[in-house]
Amino acid sequence: MRVALFVTCVNDTLYPHTGRAVVTLLERLGVAVDFPLAQSCCGQVQFNTGYRRETRPLARRYADVFAGYEYVVTPSGSCAAMVRDNYPRLGEPAAAAVAPRTYELTEFLTDVLKVTDVGAYYPYTVTYHPTCHGLRMLGLGDRPRQLLTHVKGLTLRELEGADECCGFGGTFALKNPAVSAAMGADKARHVEESGAQAVCAADNSCLMHIGGTLARRGSPVRPVHIAEILASTEGDVR
């Protein structure tokens, strides 16, 4: 099987190790990965901030870049939801056509590859934050948890108020900093109270907010993308 990786602009710029983990993981599962270099950004920030005109060229680019692939896999719940839910609303037929072929990483693993045990090893206590767009727009349900519970060595800790938004919300974090910070503080507190060593999610933008809040509080809990946990094997952890 051959898939295209849509790494997302946030991961390309700030979290390349997440993209590398996706490549490692998929290749270990026998999937050939392409990375079309003409890709850039899905336009989520523009769209969600109200700049629909600035979104359309990016959606057309996405459609053009990924037109030839049966599966496009992305390690971001919100970018996957942007493509799947919002591209059909843009009045761009090509973008609408590519939408249903775009998969968030964990749903690609459980629904297309039909695996829940990806052969990972991660000897840490972890708590999982279900990001809003993954949870409510994509309807990921317990797919990420199924994958995590099969990781050897991993202890999963419950997160109080797990399905409550962390307060990131894209430009919300900048436009409404007081409310965003208040939400982030509550999320960080719940993460700390879980007793986990790491907080994981399927979206680095939410983790940037949660992790940034934890770091400012001096918390030792580190943010980690679920792809990095699933890519990790006994050879990586000594």
Partner: protein
């Protein structure tokens, strides 16, 4: 809407949503005080989480909840599509039952009609059962200007009124007050409005309720005129339907001689059979009850029972403008249950007052900018008062896709466009204060749409990684005041791919 007009028709109609005296701050600034008030945060978190849990349990009891929800949305959509027909049917049925129907294009007209009707009875006071529509139009303030005192009779509305305060929640208007604060308000203010609070009043709920009961009983027995809203209006029979939990509504609707109901035009449903769906959806979503405690229905005045005179004021106040918007019109399905407020993480931190209208929370963020427009700084900021987390859509009993409407309204704010304003097509300009943001969005799109420019931008970011500060100045402070910035990696992902996999595809 056509029909008898009232007031000066020379002035332009103006949509007013019953809010504050001074020019309100934009949402982000208005929310700051609430986020810093530990007591308020505690009150809000405790109250919203309690109702949230109860609602979830009440909804989970019904195996066909999803179908009920779909039916509720479908009935509302169908009714809105043929609203003109159902409203005329309603008018005919109410008139045939002996009631009088008045049409109000905006708040000023509705207030003028109610003021005239009260004056014609010779009364200088009215009792009120909680009504969102009369809060929306600022009826109490308009009546006060005409020398007519309006007494709120719901417990929470009484607290708000005595405290010279504003409601901050649709279902629980005094959600921002705790028991001690309520006791103080009753003790200090009841005497100004009628029967004083009992001596030595404590803050136990039973004591507070008894004080309110004694205070209000005098109002019910003395009032000649009552003002209400309605949750639903049945077109086929001209029947008004009011749902409440305290019994005060039943008293208002039956004891006075004259009853005036101010109701938004979107509250009509075609038949009694349609009502069956909403009488299941509303109580479970709102108070988490299986059945509503006090459900009053009336079709015109009765000969020897209840009010002898019934007036229905049908209120537009921006609703037909909203109806003309294909995405935004779903907001008119709202049955004012407040489930969206109780699950909203932004409402929980910001409180209801920051929304600056009678409609707080997610529904307010999509309703207010449509009813009132997006011209003011506050109204233009409301569509952005959300992380788009979608919790509101999930619980909405009539399936209003609130995030979809929020993004739609953000586009109206950021890009402008052609919309219906006061009944006519108008070009709305992009809102002020978005110039820098617009330039940034355009620049980002320009870069992202050009692989060479994008690649260069990535190289520039990682190439200067050692120079990146941990805290940002200027607008970046909004992020870095409370959050560390992530470290910038040595190379972007695409550089790693090129280095290890060649040029790729």
């Amino acid at each position: 809407m056509t029909g008898a007009r009232e007031g000066e028709r020379a002035r332009a109609p103006r949509t007013f949503l019953g809010m504050p005296r001074t020019r309100p701050a934009a949402f982000p600034q208005a929310a700051v005080a609430a986020t810093e008030d530990a007591t308020l945060r505690g009150n809000l978190t405790h109250a919203t989480h309690t109702i949230r849990g109860k609602r979830a349990a009440a909804v989970a009891e019904l195996p066909d909840w999803d179908r009920l929800r779909a039916a509720g949305a479908a009935i509302k959509d169908d009714t809105l599509r043929h609203l003109d027909r159902y409203l005329e049917q309603l008018e005919a049925a109410v008139t045939a039952a002996g009631g009088h129907v008045h049409w109000a294009v905006d708040a000023a007209e509705a207030n003028a009609i109610v003021t005239r009707l009260v004056r014609e009875t010779g009364a200088d006071e009215v009792v009120k059962v909680k009504s969102m529509a009369t809060q929306e139009i600022g009826l109490n303030e308009a009546l006060a200007e005409a020398g007519i005192r309006a007494y709120e009779t719901d417990l929470a509305e009484l607290i708000v009124q005595l405290g010279d305060d504003l409601p901050s929640h649709i279902l629980v208007p005094a959600i921002h007050k705790n028991r001690g604060e309520i006791r103080d308000i009753f003790r200090d203010r009841m005497a100004d409005w009628g029967r004083p609070a009992p001596a030595g009043l404590g803050d136990r709920p039973a004591e507070l309720a008894e004080a309110a009961r004694l205070h209000l009983r005098e109002k019910f027995l003395g009032a000649k005129v009552a003002v209400s809203g309605a949750n639903f209006m049945v077109a086929e029979s001209g029947t008004m339907v009011v749902l409440e939990s305290e019994g005060n509504g039943r008293m208002c609707l039956t004891l006075p001689e004259t009853l005036i109901s101010v109701v938004g035009i979107e509250k009509v449903v075609p038949t009694w059979r349609d009502l069956e769906v909403f009488l299941q959806l509303l109580p479970r979503s709102s108070t988490a009850e299986r059945m509503n405690p006090y459900t009053s229905t009336w079709s015109g005045p009765a000969e020897d029972d209840g009010p002898r005179d019934f007036h229905l004021v049908l209120l537009d106040n921006g609703r037909t403008d909203t109806l003309s918007d294909q995405v935004g019109r779903q907001a008119l399905r709202c049955i004012r249950c407040s489930a969206c407020l109780n699950v909203c993480p932004v409402y929980e931190r910001a409180g209801g007052h920051a929304y600056g209208s009678a409609y707080p929370g997610p529904i307010g963020a999509i309703l207010t900018p449509q009813l009132r427009g997006t011209a003011s700084a506050l109204d233009a900021s409301l569509p952005y008062a959300s992380t788009l987390c979608g919790a509101c859509y999930e619980v909405c009993p009539v399936a209003i896709d609130i995030p979809e409407v929020l993004v739609h309204l953000r586009t109206r704010v950021a890009e402008g466009g052609t919309y219906t304003v006061r009944g006519t097509k108008a070009v709305i300009k992009p809102a002020k204060g978005h110039a820098a943001e617009r330039a940034a969005m355009r620049a980002a799109r320009w870069t992202m749409d050009r692989p060479r420019a994008y690649g260069a931008a990535l190289r520039a970011t990682t190439g200067t990684r050692r120079l990146h500060p941990r805290r940002l100045p200027g607008p970046g402070k909004a992020w870095s005041a409370t959050r560390d910035l992530p470290p910038v990696p040595q190379e972007p992902f695409r550089a790693w791919w090129r280095r290890t996999r060649g040029a790729g595809s």
